[in-house]
Every structure is written in C-alpha cells, then in structure tokens.
Symmetry: C2
Subunit: 322 residues, 2 copies
C-alpha cells in the first residue's frame, strides 16, 4: 500500500493532474499512508510562495484572485495553484459547486489548478487540511499557491498563518469601515487592497485603513517593520492588478532581504505541529484506547452528577501525569 | 479564596449586577476558583430558556434582539440576559464598544443585562466562554438568555449548540439567497426570520428558504420533526416581533411536549465537556508537565528534520498509552 502511495506522489510530481486530484481527496479523508508519504517528500521539497487573500464576504475576493492568476500566468508563472477555503460552506472536499463557479475563466488553462475546501469533511480540521492541500500543490510544482479564504471570523486569522504574504481585501460599502478595521484583520495584513474602488468612499476607507494600520503593534526593537501598502483596484476590469502583483513582489523581497521568510515558515510549522497534536488528542478522547476510556469514564460520572465538568477535566490531566 | 468566590456567587444570585459583572470578568480570565464555584452551583440550578440568534453580517441581528428584548420585558420577563458573541472582533471581555453601541435603548432598564464577547481573551475558547457566561447569567436569574452571534462560518454553527432554540436571521439583499441558504445554517434553524422584509425580494427569499429547509435531514424514524416557521419582520419598526415571540414559544412547547429539551441539553453538556477537555489537553501540550515535556522534545526533533510532523504526533499518542 505504501508503495502505491509512493507511486501516486511520483505521478503527481511528474505533473499528472489526475494523480494530484486523487492525492488531495485521499489527504482530505485522512489517509495515513498518503499523508506519511507527503510528509516524507515535503521535508526536502522546495517551498513555493504562498499568497493569502482574505476579507469580508462580498469583497470580491474570488474575482480578484482570478484577475491575479491571469496576471501571474501572463507574466511567466508556469503553474498557479488556488486553494479556496470557505469555512461557512458545508460541502466536503473537492467541492463541486465552488470549483466550477469560481474562476471558470481558467477552466481551460492547464497551468491553473483550483481546489475548494469547506468547513466539514476535513480530517484533523480545516487549517491542517489547508496545509496538506498547499503542500500537495507544492509537490506538484504549483508556484505560487494562492489561498483564498471566504468568511469572517477567527478562521481567517488562523488561515492567514498558512501564507507568506497576506492580502486583506476590503470594499467601500457602508459599514465596512467599522467592521473591517478590526485589529485582528489589520494585524495580519501585509497588503491592503480596496476593491471596487470605483464606488464612492474608497478614499475615505483608505484613510480609515491607514489610521487602523498605525495602531498595529511594533516589532521587537531592531527588527525591520514592513509598512503594508494600501492599494485600490477594480478586480472586474483588472485595474490595479499590476500594482498588486508588484506589492506582493516587494513584500517577498522584503522578507528575503531581512531573512524573515525562514522565521515565518518555522512559526507556521510549529503552529501546524501543535494543531496536528491537538486534533489527534481531541480525537483520542473520543476513540478507543487509554485516553478515550478514561474520558468516557469521567463523562459518565459527570452525567450522573457525581463530578463537575471542570473537575473531570482536571482528573483527566492528572491521568496524563501532568 | 474559595470563600471569597462563594460570597461573590451568593451576591450575584441575590441580584447584584456589580457582582455579576465581576464574576463574568473572572470567568473570562479563566479564574479556576470562580469556575469551580460556578460548576458546583450550576449542577443544581434551574436552567433558563436559551434563545440563539444568528445570521450573516448586516442582517440586523442586534436591532432584532433589541426589539425582542423589549417585547419580552413588556410581556412579563423580569430579567432578560443578552450575550453578544462576535468572533471577528479582537476586543476582549466586557467589550467596551459592543456593550455601549448595542441596545443602548435598554441602558436604563435594570431588567436587561448585555454582555459582549469577542474572539480573543477567552481562556479555553469562545464556545466554552459563552457557556460560562450563559451559566452565570442563569445563576443571576436572567431568563431567557439570548445569545446573539455576529459573523458567518463555523463559529455560528458551534455557538448554535448553546441555545435551546435558534433563530436564523436573513435579509432579502442580493447574494444572500445563495450565501445564506447553506445547509449548515439551515440545519441549525428552529425559526427562520427574514428581517428588513419591507425591502424587495422578501417573498422570493422566503421561497428559497422553504426549498432549503425541505432538503434537511430527517430525524430518526418515530421521532417528531419540527417544521421551522419562516417569518418576516422589520425589526426597526417592531413589525413581526409578536409573531417571532409566538414562534419561540411554540418551539419551546414542542420541545417540552416531546421531551426533547433534556436530550438537547444533555448533548450540549457532552459537547462542552469534550471542548473543555480538548482545550485543556491543547494547553497542556504547551505547558510544563509530562505531556508538555514530551511534546517539546518531539517538536525539537521535527525542527531538526529527524522526524516528520505526523510521525511525531503518532509517537505522542503512544506516550499516552494509546
């Protein structure tokens, strides 16, 4: 079986789209052999640039990503991968609707691969699943890999951790100036892009964003600070996409010049290991084995009113020798 | 110290708002003694009705909740509690902005208590924090407790688990019919309320919702199925709020008649125990103690490239005797 998986990874690395699609599905189902094989290859593989695109619903992220993909393809990128993460969608991996609706203009371009991921159906959580998907695309030679996250909330901040450069997309619609300037979003932005900039209010929003960015925490003394550019674009017409691509390049250069990329990726790897471990423990709580047995026992005691929930958790930790 | 906490809980149960506010802050900071005291009292306390209100941003949830609170207060509810959960807000407990902006019309009503909760600053996660807040409000005699969740995504589905009855609020604005009819939202709806029903498209949206609801999974054979009513309202004028209150009452009666409330709450308690345990384990991974030491050791091996991430996690589980 492991040999089958090794062969699948080889086919995928040779550029066979069908092998890539199959591997992605296996990864989403938590296939242990495929994932072990992925881990083994991934340790030595070069890592492509990862660009995150996030922002509130209706900001036109998909259209923007589509325009960016077009720009990258025209300007020399051989293979561009897109991972569209929608934590609010209940559909499972390889989501039918998403892949088809999104970026239909690239449907005939073999140099573009789009994968949609939804909240459910991801063994080990969405963040871990997104990381696996990015790594498989990397092995298949896609560079850059663009991770688009739909939705607002914690998820987008977590997902931002998978990218080297994060673009926050906003629009000058009513209410956004308050909603979007939340520190959580501002903190993750490497580039702020005001989309639909032909609508009234774009300059005002740019001012608000500028003020919001000034409130960001400063890096430790001696460390260089990146100033996120605030761009305006109209993704539907392609206006401003050149400037976006340049800003992405500038950020990549800044990261490389200051040797920040390695640190970013190391932090990402650490966060991922913690995610994987936490997910495995959470699963072990509900499964067979010593930890699951002990938890089931404590849960029965809680249900019979013999012990309070938090006291049960304390006893569980004691079991672990903590 | 435990005696101080016991006294605080007594003051809170005697209706002292200041004690409640203090206890909420302590709970949000993960104060172990306060939480133990809460657990002890909560086991025997009667549980108030919990109403969840959720939906996409801009649906007018806050205005709706405000109108519902007014209706409940006029119709005999002595104390109404509101927990406003905003997973996209970075502000910590007792959020300044939220409490003030929201429901300012109830600011002078001592029978209404509003607490805002944001994504960060909650020891043990937002879902666990929301549960603690609801329980403290229950001990202080607030009934019903309304949990309003702002945002889209996984969080709202999780938060829906804290309510006995969940109202999904939608609006007839463009795009919503696709965005909002996601199965994830439809599955959690006990009542669907189309707000801003004076705008064009409300009837059309109601039709879409009806179709969406027909796709829901059926309960096991023999179990009664609740048909979520689809209501229309204009929260700003109060139109349709009577009907909403009636629908909430009908659902409560249905749950009671079919003895479903106990099962719902049991399921909620189980989910909560799992949440608490998973959060504690995740924290233990990063802390001192046997589990944290082992994890730190494995992490170092991963960073030195001696072992792949998933292999490290497998070894970690072995340590636990799984």
């Amino acid at each position: 079986m492991l040999r089958v998986m090794a062969a699948l990874i080889q086919e995928l690395m040779a550029g066979q789209t069908r092998a890539l699609a199959r591997a992605l599905t296996l990864a989403e189902n938590g296939d242990a052999q495929l994932l072990a094989e992925l881990d083994a290859h991934n340790a030595t593989a070069p890592q492509p640039r990862r660009i995150g695109v996030t922002g509130p619903p209706g900001a036109g992220k998909s259209t923007l990503v589509s325009a960016l993909v077009k720009h990258l393809r025209i300007n020399g990128a051989t293979r561009v991968g897109v991972v569209a993460v929608d934590p609010s969608s209940p559909f499972g991996g390889g989501a039918l609707l998403g892949d088809r609706l999104r970026m239909s203009e690239h449907a005939l371009d073999p140099g573009v691969f789009v994968r949609s991921m939804a909240a459910r159906g991801h063994f080990g959580g969405l963040a871990a699943g997104c990381e696996d998907t990015c790594e498989l695309l990397a092995l298949a030679g896609y560079d850059p890999v663009i991770v688009e996250t739909v939705g607002v909330g914690q998820s987008e901040v977590e997902i931002a951790g998978v990218a080297d450069t994060t673009v926050v997309v906003l629009t000058p619609s009513a209410g956004d100036s308050v909603q979007a300037l939340k520190a959580g979003i501002m903190e993750i932005a490497d580039v702020v892009l005001i989309n639909k900039a032909d609508k009234p209010g774009a300059d005002r929003l740019a001012e608000d964003v500028k003020e919001g960015l000034e409130l960001r925490a400063h890096p430790p003394a001696g460390q260089p600070m990146w100033q996120p550019p605030i761009l305006q674009a109209v993704a539907t017409t392609g206006q401003g996409i050149d400037a976006l691509a340049q800003a992405l390049q500038s950020h990549a250069t800044f990261m490389a010049d200051h040797k920040l990329l390695a640190a970013t990726r190391r932090k990402r790897a650490q966060a991922r290991l913690l995610d994987l471990a936490a997910a495995a423990l959470s699963q072990a709580l509900q499964g067979p084995g010593a930890l699951g047995d002990r938890f089931a026992q404590l849960r029965a005691q809680v249900e019979q009113g013999q012990i309070a929930p938090r006291a049960a958790v304390a006893l569980l930790l004691q079991t672990l020798g903590k």
